[in-house]
């Protein structure tokens, strides 16, 4: 027997122990207990249980896959996965045992009876509970291995369907909020109970997703081929149809989602605006800016001071009317750009890490300035600025002399929250809640998106990217790296200012503590997760990093932990980000007479063409 065919017990034990760290660690920090309050499928599975079971499942899958890839005995892969799953339970069992002898609660606050009850699966007897825990995890490992045996064609839909079920389970509270506008209470009860999916609904979602994915995998290629075979004009039509439908969907989104979810989407939108701005500095120009919150704060405070109707507002000071929201947006943008410009000057000679630390400092300086006694008479210190009005448009109802009939119009639309809300907004022009403010953020994000796209594909954008790739070489091709850097900081700051102004108006009161380091970290993380320098990546990153945690409030306490874990996983699995920036095809766009070279051929060294042939 060759050495490679031997059953490598140590490998499985090591993998199991690695997986076992997850349930142990999350138990000790209290995550399991908090997550256990959230049921994914009613009466079947809680999020906490998933935390304990999932690592075994994954490790079983991975070891079995690796074992078989190396051409080893598939039966031993199953045994190995079983062992790995079992070993993964040992650290947690050890925790239970130790805690029984020496109460660990003095050291680890979260190791409490409630946690023990979860880990022991509700059993009175410790031995029984531990045994169940061990066997469940061992079986999970085995199950993971079994999944790895399923042919890819059937495995992929399975994994996707499971993910969809878990996600819809987690988001069931919000699914309920959306659905209750359309279907009656009794029917809703069949789908969502409390905050979790019913077993029936979970099964239905699983089956539907599984079949759809399977269908797409089998037939998708044919559909794509048929689509590609369509004449260009038809394709254009289809594309326009999709775009229009997507546009309409985005326009009615807040009314479909309801107030709470609109609030979440608003926050996502604000972070998209900021992300697109910071991306200019970090993603394109390669200037690691850890103090982006500076621009956000400047925008918000400028907007606060100039529009507040309270004692701190400029209006009260000068005895005039405070400025309106619409004029404030450009002022805030310019103010933030000015700040970006000024802050760029001292850090011009810094590169990489040093620049990051300096900008980190700016972020803190701005927060401390806002808190300081020195500026307190102007911006309120810790009390912040109050009474910042919501944006308004001139009421259409009065312009058109519809004032008498307007309530009737809204009455007609009654019963349909979507229409009534829109009608109200159009007739009275009041951006009073998250559903109305959505439109301002939407337009703002579109504007920033437009500017970013234009810049990306321009001389300036190329200057920034060249500078990111190699500052010396950029200088040697004639780029003035000093001005390019200053410009990157300045333009990047602009959208921070815009987001700040909208934020101030949205929340109505601003406090220094809204402008802490976490904002900078959030924006930076969403860029990294989405894909450095990628515009669609920022949208995806915002949804994943800002949207999801708001929806899963259990995560709030552990947000930074999850960010860290997510960043590590991303760097390992997908360092280019969720949606990396596409390569712009420039040569082939106009040079279509020659087919692009085959990429497979490219790997082998090509014979050089004599230069004389290439002459022009």
């Amino acid at each position: 027997m060759s050495a490679t065919k031997r059953f490598d017990l140590r490998y499985f034990i090591r993998a199991g122990l690695l997986a076992g760290i997850v349930p142990l660690y999350t138990s000790v920090i209290g995550m399991v207990e908090v997550f256990n309050k959230r049921e994914v499928v009613k009466g079947m599975l809680t999020l906490g249980e998933m935390l304990v079971i999932f690592p075994s499942l994954v490790v079983g899958y991975l070891v079995a896959l690796k074992w078989r890839r190396e051409g080893k005995n598939p039966f031993l892969a199953l045994v190995g996965a079983l062992i790995a799953g079992f070993v993964a339970s040992l650290p947690t069992v050890l925790l239970i045992l130790v805690n029984d002898r020496i109460p660990l609660r003095d050291m680890f606050v979260n190791v409490n009876p409630a946690l023990m009850e979860i880990l022991l699966v509700g059993q009175e007897q410790m031995a029984q509970g531990a045994f169940i825990l061990m066997s469940v995890l061992a079986v999970s490992g085995l199950l993971g291995a079994v999944v790895s045996f399923i042919p890819y064609r059937f495995r992929r839909p399975l994994v996707i369907a499971l993910v969809v079920v878990i996600l819809s389970g987690l988001l069931s509270e919000f699914i309920k909020q959306v659905l209750q506008q359309f279907i009656e209470r009794g029917a809703l009860k069949q789908i969502v109970q409390g905050k979790s999916l019913t077993t029936k609904a979970a099964a239905a979602i699983f089956v539907v997703t599984y079949l759809t994915t399977l269908f797409w995998d089998v037939k998708g290629q044919a559909i794509r081929t048929r689509y590609n075979a369509m004449p260009a004009s038809r394709k254009k039509q289809a594309g326009r149809l999709w775009k229009t439908m997507f546009g309409i969907f985005l326009l009615i989104l807040p009314w479909v989602l309801g107030p709470y979810l609109s609030e979440v989407i608003d926050n996502v939108g604000l972070y998209i605006i900021m992300g697109l701005g910071l991306n200019i500095a970090v993603g394109w120009a390669g200037l690691l800016d850890l103090g982006y919150v500076t621009n956000f704060a400047v925008g918000a405070y400028i907007a606060g001071v100039l529009t507040s109707t309270g004692p701190l507002g400029l209006g009260a000071r000068l005895g005039t009317d405070p400025l309106g929201f619409w004029i404030i947006i450009p002022i805030s943008i310019l103010a933030a750009m000015f700040t970006g410009f000024v802050l760029a000057l001292p850090v011009l000679r810094m590169r990489g890490d040093y620049l990051a630390i300096a900008t980190l400092g700016f972020g803190e300086i701005i927060r401390l300035l806002a808190l300081s006694d020195w500026l307190k008479p102007y911006i309120g210190g810790a009390q912040g600025i109050l009474f910042i009005p919501k944006p308004e448009l001139p009421a259409l109802a009065e312009i058109l002399n519809l004032a008498d009939r307007a309530p009737a119009l809204i009455e007609i639309a009654k019963g349909d929250s979507l229409l009534a809300g829109l009608m109200n907004l159009i007739l009275y022009g009041q951006f009073s809640g998250p559903q109305e403010l959505y439109y301002i953020i939407f337009v703002g994000a579109l504007f920033v998106l437009f500017v970013a796209t234009r810049l990306n594909n321009s001389r300036t954008g190329r200057q920034w990217m060249a500078m990111r790739e190699d500052e010396d070489a950029a200088s040697s091709v004639g780029i003035n790296t000093t001005t390019a850097k200053v410009l990157a900081f300045t333009v990047s700051a602009a959208s921070g200012g815009m987001a700040g102004a909208i934020f101030a108006s949205k929340v109505g009161t601003i406090f220094p503590n809204s402008f802490n380091l976490l904002v900078s970290i959030n924006v930076l993380s969403l860029i990294i997760i989405g894909g450095m320098g990628s515009i669609p990546g920022i949208v995806v990153g915002s949804l994943a990093l800002i949207g999801l945690p708001e929806l899963l409030r259990e995560f709030a306490e552990f947000r930074l932990l999850l960010y860290g874990a997510l960043l590590v996983v991303m760097m390992l699995v997908r360092p280019e980000g969720l949606w990396p920036s596409p390569v712009i095809r420039r040569e082939m766009a106009a040079d279509e007479e020659e087919p692009p070279p085959d990429m497979g051929e490219m790997q082998t060294s090509q014979p050089m063409r004599p230069l004389s042939e290439a002459s022009d």
């Binding site: 790739e469 091709v477 780029i479 020659e594 230069l611």
Partner: protein
């Protein structure tokens, strides 16, 4: 009196106690192909860096056409009409080949970021020209069809060509090539040599190169300058240099030089 495109007078560059370039006088005739050779550490690349603004010189003067290059930043030197390549290729690796060349045209561009955002006609026109010119240069260096590949994915030889194309994009009057044939096989070296000669003959670009491959140096140079310890050891036509005992000594050591002399 010959027309010199570049004149260096008594250039000194020190790094701490080390004198990397030591009172070097250098004259580069317009329209010529000249080489600088010398053992490792002789100060060749340092001299290049002094010319292109990467290092500020400690003493002496450098004149390019009628301009003094003292105190200029690299980008300003490039805008005057001096382009360079690097010993270890320094492309913008995560940009496509064609984008690399587009960036290379930097000294001749006028559009700015505001024009880019509003999409002014001038900017759009310039963008179109820049793309066309980049495509033309891509073909000129024989990289047709590879323009949309990321620079880092190109094979080594293509990367060297792309770097030259990027340098050419600035429409230089003087091109400084730092070991353009390093790492190439004999066939590739020959092609590159011919290509460099064409640059001078067809485009009228003056060329100064640092090279280790004596075949290349002796084949295309009109003037060869030998540096050793930052000083000019010898200067002349390739034949003169080949027979100069001091050069042989610097390269091979005293014993070898004596042997060669005896053999001759």
């Amino acid at each position: 009196m010959t027309d010199n495109i570049l004149v260096a007078e008594k250039v000194v560059k020190r790094f701490g106690g080390l004198v990397a370039v030591d009172h070097l006088d250098y004259e580069l005739p317009r329209g010529s192909i000249c080489s600088i050779i010398g053992p490792n550490g002789a100060g060749k690349t340092t001299f290049f860096n002094c010319l292109t603004g990467f290092y500020s010189i400690d003493e002496g003067h450098v004149h390019f056409e009628n301009y003094s290059l003292e105190g200029l930043e690299p980008f300003q030197v490039t805008r005057l009409g001096i382009a360079r390549t690097f010993q270890n290729i320094r492309l913008f690796s995560n940009m496509t080949a064609i984008e690399n060349i587009m960036v290379g045209q930097e000294p001749h561009l006028h559009s700015n970021w505001i024009g880019a955002i509003v999409g002014s006609p001038g900017t759009r026109h310039e963008e179109k020209l820049v793309e066309e010119e980049a495509r033309r240069l891509l073909r000129f260096v024989g990289l047709r069809g590879k323009g949309d590949m990321l620079a880092k994915n190109l094979p080594y030889g293509d990367q060297r060509r792309l770097e030259i194309a990027r340098a050419l994009a600035s429409k230089p009057k003087l091109l400084l090539l730092d070991e353009p044939t390093a790492g190439m096989n004999p066939a590739e070296t020959l092609q590159t040599t011919n290509f460099i000669r064409r640059l001078r003959d067809e485009l009228g670009i003056t060329i100064l190169l640092i090279e280790h491959d004596m075949k290349v140096v002796m084949g295309i140079s009109e003037k060869v300058t030998v540096l050793d310890y930052g000083k000019k050891l010898a200067e002349g036509t390739p034949e003169e240099i080949q027979n100069d005992p001091r050069v042989i000594e610097a390269y091979l050591g005293r014993g070898a030089a004596q042997l060669m002399a005896e053999a001759a």
